[in-house]
């Protein structure tokens, strides 16, 4: 059965968005990412104009992350306090990032810088997570649960003012830490035009030292608010949110997020990290292929960045 999408001005087989929603929602519930880095290119592949694909995806993520946050909150895996500090930082970072794009555009080679930042970020984060989680899986086998020796960065973070305890995560940090790192992710996400879940998750795991299961829930919580803001701005200023497409996607993604959350509880934190790392690396490779192979069409829709 086909539905016509009133804003995208195209028709789509309903099974495609529902299926894509289910798959990406599953990843969302499992790993605490929005999945925009997968969903947006897939929608474009199925004939949705790029600007509408990105905006509608953020609308859909509102539903998936509500569903996922709720599932994780029920088992006590959302650190609201940490989430709010990250959000505050992310909000400021987003504003800075939008200005950054303007500067890049004025310089002329915005697209090059954005694409390169994206590939390098994805590659670095994926590779680091992969190596780190594999090696810590090995360590836990040999029962070397030695207390992490405090690194220089760790000591520096401890020396900052405004230290506070985050109960749910069981960590103590200066409130400046989540705000600053939330801000950095916010800047990068705005510049790259993505939600930034794939950056926020590693920040929470490796810098804030939060347990993986709380990371997933908390990440979804802050993604929810980010995507509400983005959806509204896109609908209001660019008219690029397709309501029908969003509904079809969220039918799949809300269910997928629940399944992902349940499934995630059965996996260990290290296993989750490895799988996420593999997905991020696979996306990196795909983008590298896209950049190097000759495209079949040399022209494309305008808009977005």
């Amino acid at each position: 059965m086909h539905f016509y999408l009133p804003v995208a001005l195209t028709s789509i087989n309903v099974l495609i968005p529902v299926g894509l929603g289910l798959a990406v929602g599953l990843l969302s519930g499992l790993f605490g990412v929005g999945g925009g880095f997968l969903m947006t290119p897939l929608l474009i592949m199925f004939g949705i104009p790029s600007t509408i694909a990105a905006a509608t995806d953020s609308n859909q993520i509102v539903a998936a992350s509500t569903s996922g946050t709720y599932a994780h909150w029920r088992v006590g895996n959302v650190d609201f306090k940490m989430g709010l500090y990250l959000l505050a930082g992310g909000f400021i970072g987003g504003l800075l990032g939008v200005q950054g794009i303007k500067v890049l555009k004025a310089m002329g080679n915005a697209d090059f810088v954005i694409k390169m930042t994206y590939v390098i970020m994805l590659g670095t984060v994926g590779a680091y997570m992969f190596i780190e989680s594999i090696s810590s899986m090995r360590k836990s086998k040999t029962q070397q649960v030695k207390e992490e020796r405090e690194s220089a960065t760790g000591r520096f973070l401890k020396s900052l003012p405004l230290q506070t305890h985050f109960e749910k995560s069981g960590v103590t940090h200066s409130v400046l830490v989540p705000i600053i790192f939330g801000g950095i992710v916010g800047i990068l996400a705005a510049v790259m035009g993505v939600g930034g879940g794939f950056l926020m998750v590693p920040v929470m795991v490796y810098i804030l030292r939060m347990p993986m299961h709380v990371v997933v829930g908390t990440s979804l919580f802050q993604i929810l608010f980010n995507c509400i803001e983005v959806t509204f701005l896109q609908a209001y200023t660019n008219h690029t949110v397709d309501f029908i497409l969003a509904v079809l996607l969220l039918i799949g993604s809300t269910v997928g997020a629940q399944i992902g959350a349940v499934f995630g509880r059965k996996l260990k934190g290290e296993q989750l990290k490895v799988i996420l790392a593999v997905i991020v690396l696979a996306v990196t490779v795909k983008i590298i292929f896209e950049l190097t192979l000759s495209p079949s069409l040399l022209l494309g829709q305008s808009g977005g960045h």
């Binding site: 059965m1 086909h2 539905f3 016509y4 009133p6 804003v7 001005l9 195209t10 028709s11 004939g47 609308n59 509102v62 539903a63 998936a64 992350s65 509500t66 569903s67 996922g68 709720y70 599932a71 029920r74 088992v75 080679n109 697209d111 090059f112 694409k115 509400i228 959806t231 509204f232 896109q234 609908a235 209001y236 200023t237 008219h239 949110v241 397709d242 309501f243 029908i244 969003a246 509904v247 969220l250 039918i251 809300t254 269910v255 997020a257 629940q258 349940v262 509880r265 896209e290 950049l291 190097t292 192979l293 000759s294 495209p295 069409l297 040399l298 022209l299 494309g300 829709q301 305008s302």
Partner: protein, 251 residues
Amino acid sequence: MATACAVLLLLMSGPASAALTVTPNHDHIDIDFFYHGSTVSIEGVSDTGTDLVMKIAASAGHQSLRKKGKVAGLLWMNVGELKFDHVPSLYSLHSTKKISDILSEGERDKYLIGYGSLGKQTVIQPVANEADKTKWFDEFVKFKEASKLYAETEGDISLSVSSGEQHYHVLIPWPYQAAPGDYIVTVYAVKDKKVVGTAETKVLVEQVGLVKSLAVMAKNSAALYGIISILAALVAGFGVGLIFRKGGGSH
């Protein structure tokens, strides 16, 4: 339903072109919720011995597209915008025979029949030279053909003679990618490589019902539309969460 209104007779020069009519089976395509393109059947009467060429086109406008190119000799990415002027958003040709065999180049250019003629009137900016322009016009056609909006189909108009009249008929798959708007169908009667008669009709594509309401709302009440989209997503996410709690019950 739309028989009477669509018959238009436009007699051109010469005694040879006594009659040419064009009638679509429907001149009004409604885009509703389940729309997935349509099929338009067009028929008419023409003088015996004439060949036919049919052009379906939206009025010429301009379009900006991003162009891809190699950066640093290695990486493909967007390298700027190209502006195309005097190009229709939809352009589809149909005929009884190979068009270059039945119509001279001069006539094709005069009536804008064929990609070649369309390319001549198109203005592309910025391009370095004529070769560059040709290259990008070809890419433009490729882009449009990929989204089914441009097509050159030759030999798909069928002819039959009954009671001394020549009847023609063609079935045209109407792409769902075609945006709402007016589309002009022009039939050219062709003889001795010249156009000897033309007739015209219109196909109107329009959004109706829920599709129209949503499209209008997205444009005209953007803030409300955004808020509704967000609320619907929140309710759906929360609702599914509740269903799973009741259904699952394991934790």
